[in-house]
Symmetry: C2
DNA sequence: CATCTCAACTATGTATACATAGGGCTTGTT
DNA sequence: AACAAGCCCTATGTATACATAGTTGAGATG
């Protein structure tokens, strides 16, 4: 594996998991020492992060970890609504019913995954990720998938702005199940509407519990 | 200005204007000689182009100008519909009526801009760009604007796949005028619908006249 | 004659040295 | 004491040298 890829993966993970907080200066020299590679791969990694929007040029000199705050939340969800509603619509037109019926079943029982034993909700988020992947595959649109991928980076970051509580997660799982069912039924309008409802609930919850 | 920025701008323009055709190998050494800079800024430029989707890694070694074909057209327009309809909706809710009424007037008379004297339709496309910019400004959503910006790069490239004829451009100008008017009136549903109609017409035209 | 293997060359990945610009600190003057 | 100006330091921008991997071509063997 290339050193620049390792540096990129490390920094990306550090930013997404808030080990590097917004506003942190990403100095080339400091990073090259910390990650034990020369400045060249570090520069490459920083360029990729900046292209993704995880870091920003700082007034012409150096880059900093980009801000993510409540102001960005509503903007982020406007884009999310546009992309995910369209994706749900197209998926409903092109889906394999078997796949989405199976996901519907799993999501309907997702309440069991949310236990005190798993404080990070890794199982739950993995299942939600499976739905996303299935939608992406059904849509089969390279450009739409790319836009969604870019968006999800920021959504993962924003998750840390609020405490997720078990009640909301169980509701969210039910909403996901409703989306999967509408797609399985091949009903674009309902799939899009269910997505709109889910996103509105998610945004309200995030705004109400944000720290 | 930084050498890497110049290299990036030059290459970007060359790709968008089809001076570098899809599939062309972008060798670092060759480019550094042609543009008279060292490989370092060239690498930076290629990384940005690849992040934008204008070039792609070629099986692990080197990058090539990315393909753009009729297959991509329909995918591109699905994403475009999602983003531009949402943008039109939000613009209608947040617009300054004066600005969009003025654009409506200009677009209504845009037929005069399409003359034999201007084979590149520079004036027409500039006016269309003004509408895009006004919508972006009215929406005021950083993430949505960024997604639209990334999309437009590919749209400009795709334009060359077809011959634009004056009749279609005059129709397109009328459709743009309708969008501007709906936004000026503050009617999100109509703005979105007018955008849907416009995009459908554009896509049909592109597909029918493609070379 | 075709195919496989080895070697050499070329292009990319990485490191480092050098140039340069911008910011901060210190000092002097008002 | 405060503000401005100049110098120094540090971090980024660029160039280049070196390492390495992949590809291509040539030669030998079946």
């Amino acid at each position: 594996m290339r050193a620049s890829d390792r540096a990129y993966a490390t920094l990306r993970s550090d930013i997404i998991n808030w080990r590097l907080t917004p506003g942190t200066v990403l100095g080339e020299v400091e990073l090259s020492e910390r990650l034990s590679v020369s400045r060249t791969p570090i520069r490459e990694a920083l360029a990729k992060l900046t292209a993704e929007g995880l870091s920003e040029p700082q007034s012409g000199r150096g880059v900093v970890v980009s801000e993510i705050s409540l102001d960005h939340l509503e903007e982020l969800f406007e884009l999310r609504a546009a992309l995910e509603c369209k994706a749900a619509e197209l998926a409903a037109q092109r889906r394999d019913p078997v796949i989405f019926l199976a996901l519907y079943e799993k999501l309907s029982n997702a309440g069991e995954l949310i236990t005190a034993q798993d404080p990070d909700r890794a199982d739950y988020y993995q299942l939600a990720g499976e739905l996303d992947s299935a939608v992406d595959a059904a849509v089969g649109n390279h450009y739409l998938n790319l836009a969604l991928k870019n968006l999800r980076v920021h959504l993962v970051r924003v998750r840390r702005l609020s405490k997720d509580n078990p009640v909301r997660l169980r509701d969210a799982a039910r909403e996901h199940a409703a989306i999967a069912l509408a797609i399985a039924h091949g009903n674009p309008a309902v799939a899009s509407a269910a997505t709109t409802v889910h996103l509105d609930n998610s945004l309200r919850h995030l705004l109400s519990t944000a720290s």
